[in-house]
Symmetry: C2
Subunit: 416 residues, 2 copies
């Protein structure tokens, strides 16, 4: 039932070769139109295709999709089926929608005329720590006398429960949070705005289908539960985190906001970019062994633009294939104790750093704990952590032969 | 607007003096009646009063309470108002309901004819670590060469985000979870049923009203956001926890289930039992200083009954006043970074151990990490951690002059 759209497929809607949204992608999102109505949309090129409109005109069979105000009632088969119907309508040789000027003007919304929302209600957010180079860097910084990875790291995907209520969409600013901090030499802690606001370059995946309490999701069927993938920025206040995190882990240092990109890219669209991850040694336990390659070759990039700059400067280029633990391993682990999950649950991968400088996914690593300020070439400004007015832009895409399947941008400005 | 019911008030419904549910309490719950309809109820003595029935008969003004299928649409004023109306109807000298035999037979349900459910939908669950004797005991066990409390403990209420989806009501069994564990001398970890299943004696509180992202709840208004209090058992798999928890805190060791008692006891009902907590030294930061005493004198008790026993054996007697951080301090801290909260959010206090043996709130402490097995007097059996078939019974109450305001029982059997 999965739908991998051929690399040579074309749409009657013109799409630039380096667009993230060719006919091979067709990701889903939730848009607010100018009349403030919320509607489920599919992205192609510079347009959002309004599925409620297509449904109202009978172009999506009502018996299959009676309501398209939410993505959450759709399981993975529905998503594939729906993507196939949209694909058929957008193929260059299909005149149904193409030649219906009136319907086109209703159903095809120029992308600058919609506000993209958090695509589904999110019952729970779990954040992993599966970027092995990130975890190693953090270990080197904070436990210099020990092996960089803790003994459990290669045996299970370390994670913590995050805060679902504060997930925000792209373009919504993040407020610099206040928090309690204490320097090593300070006699007492103080409460005030964080001085070490940081981003974390991650991917996120949404569940389309949950599991019942006591019924783990086996790794072999984990993909069937995944609605699709987004970019994710797990905002962190490093000074708050250092003081609060022992012994129960990060709490207020991360709960104030998590940003996600608006387009949910299906696993079907990512299928041509499936790759083997780095070898896992020692062998992982059987319930965490995927039966086929479960990583994806997704180029990732973080850029920053300060208020004085006229264009962003790229800080880091990384890749999703550097994750030690894959999506399906994460989900199989998280439910292995019988925890129940729900449609719309969101999972973050953890910070995806590459192995070398220039590929790190956080300022903590890029400035090596603030010791190596980063120079903005255009203005000569320096950054260790984020300042008010800075905009962080995360992007990601898979490079096909003559086309890209991408995520667009996740763009967030820091407010004081 | 708050409603403290006088100690000498009486109802026309007979209530035993050691019942947890005299007219001074009137806690709320959500019940499934024998016809499977869900309805909001108030407990008095051995009856659940069906508020939907009272509402349908015009005894609760429709303009105030149009829908009583959920507690979540009610803010703290509504709750006080509703409790006052029910109080008036149940007072011994009020004939309205008392003398209406037909309505009584509809609205007063014998308590053994209802199943009590999780009382509200729970968007998020946060679990604190505010039992200072518990935290000290854990420190002594796991870090014997260091001071028992970590440096941050007396400056902020340490907490982690838990899993809301797996909160279960009293009487629903807990399944022994599987998990990854590794003994200190084992070469590799294994995956299988936990061998160290434990309870944690806690209280929980629900929010009636949330806050917007970026708008902390000041400690002075924190009580206005609290719907009421329940007993809470934060099930823990100690062997899983030991192996997984570094560096991001507990995850699968606690996400498989959290049990709560069915009756939400309002802060108004607890008001006569408000007490000063232990002195906080050093002084806490201003945003965490309550302006009046914010602890409660609530007797707590844990008992266990194995399959072979005919009656439970009390393992521990503790008190909520041993908490280092109070409810309002916890809520002010959790939102101090601007995290948004929602009606129905649940907070656990952390394990409430007292200062002496026999007052500890977990088997981890009672058996001192399994080194001191606990003998069941009736059968001669021994326990370090829980075995399949064991039933854990938590109770709690405030002792008034000739009456008790209590929580009833939180009763859970371990299934293999």
């Amino acid at each position: 039932m999965s739908l991998v759209i051929p690399p040579d497929a074309k749409s009657w809607i013109a799409v630039d070769p380096d667009s993230h949204f060719p006919i091979q992608n067709l990701p889903f999102g939730l848009a607010a139109r100018e009349d403030d109505n919320e509607t489920v949309v599919v992205r192609i090129g510079d347009f959002a295709v309004d599925l409620c409109q297509l449904s109202a005109c009978g172009l999506l069979p009502e018996e299959d999709f009676p309501v398209l105000h939410s993505l959450i009632d759709l399981d993975r088969e529905d998503i594939s089926h729906l993507r196939r119907l949209v694909y058929e309508l957008l193929k260059e040789d299909n005149p149904t929608l193409r030649d219906d000027k009136e319907l086109c003007s209703e159903a095809l919304i120029p992308i600058d005329q919609v506000d993209m929302l958090v695509p589904v209600e999110i019952p729970a957010f779990v954040d992993f720590y599966s970027g092995i180079h990130h975890a190693s860097n953090v270990g080197r910084m904070f436990r210099p006398d020990m092996p960089p990875l803790l003994p459990n790291y290669r045996h299970l995907p370390v994670a913590y429960n995050g805060r679902a209520s504060s997930v925000i969409p792209s373009e919504v600013p993040v407020r610099r949070p206040k928090g309690q901090t204490k320097g090593a030499d300070d006699p007492v802690p103080v409460f005030g705005p964080t001085k070490e606001l940081d981003f974390e370059l991650e991917l996120g995946f949404f569940l389309s289908e949950g599991n019942d309490l006591g019924e783990p999701i086996p790794i072999g069927s984990a993909e069937d539960h995944i609605l699709g993938v987004v970019l994710l920025n797990d905002w962190s206040a490093r000074d708050v985190q250092r003081w609060e995190y022992q012994p129960l882990g990060p709490f207020l240092a991360k709960s104030f906001a998590t940003s996600i990109s608006p387009w949910i890219v299906s696993l079907d669209a990512l299928e041509p970019f499936r790759v083997e991850g780095a070898p896992q040694e020692p062998d992982v336990l059987p319930h965490l062994q995927p039966s086929k390659p479960s990583h994806y070759d997704i180029h990732l990039e973080v850029a920053i633009q300060t208020e004085k700059m006229t264009q962003p400067q790229v800080l880091s280029r990384s890749n999703a294939k550097y994750l030690y633990w894959s999506f399906v391993q994460q989900l199989a682990h998280q439910t292995s104790n019988g925890t129940n999950t729900e449609p719309g649950d969101l999972y973050g991968t953890g910070t995806i750093s590459g192995p070398a400088e220039g590929t790190y996914g956080s300022l903590l690593e890029l400035s090596w704990r603030g010791q190596r300020p980063i120079k903005m070439t255009e203005t000569g400004e320096e950054r260790t952590f984020l300042e008010d007015g800075d905009t962080v832009i995360i992007t990601g895409y898979c490079q096909g032969d003559g086309y890209r399947v991408g995520f667009g941008e996740l763009r967030t400005t820091v407010m004081g």
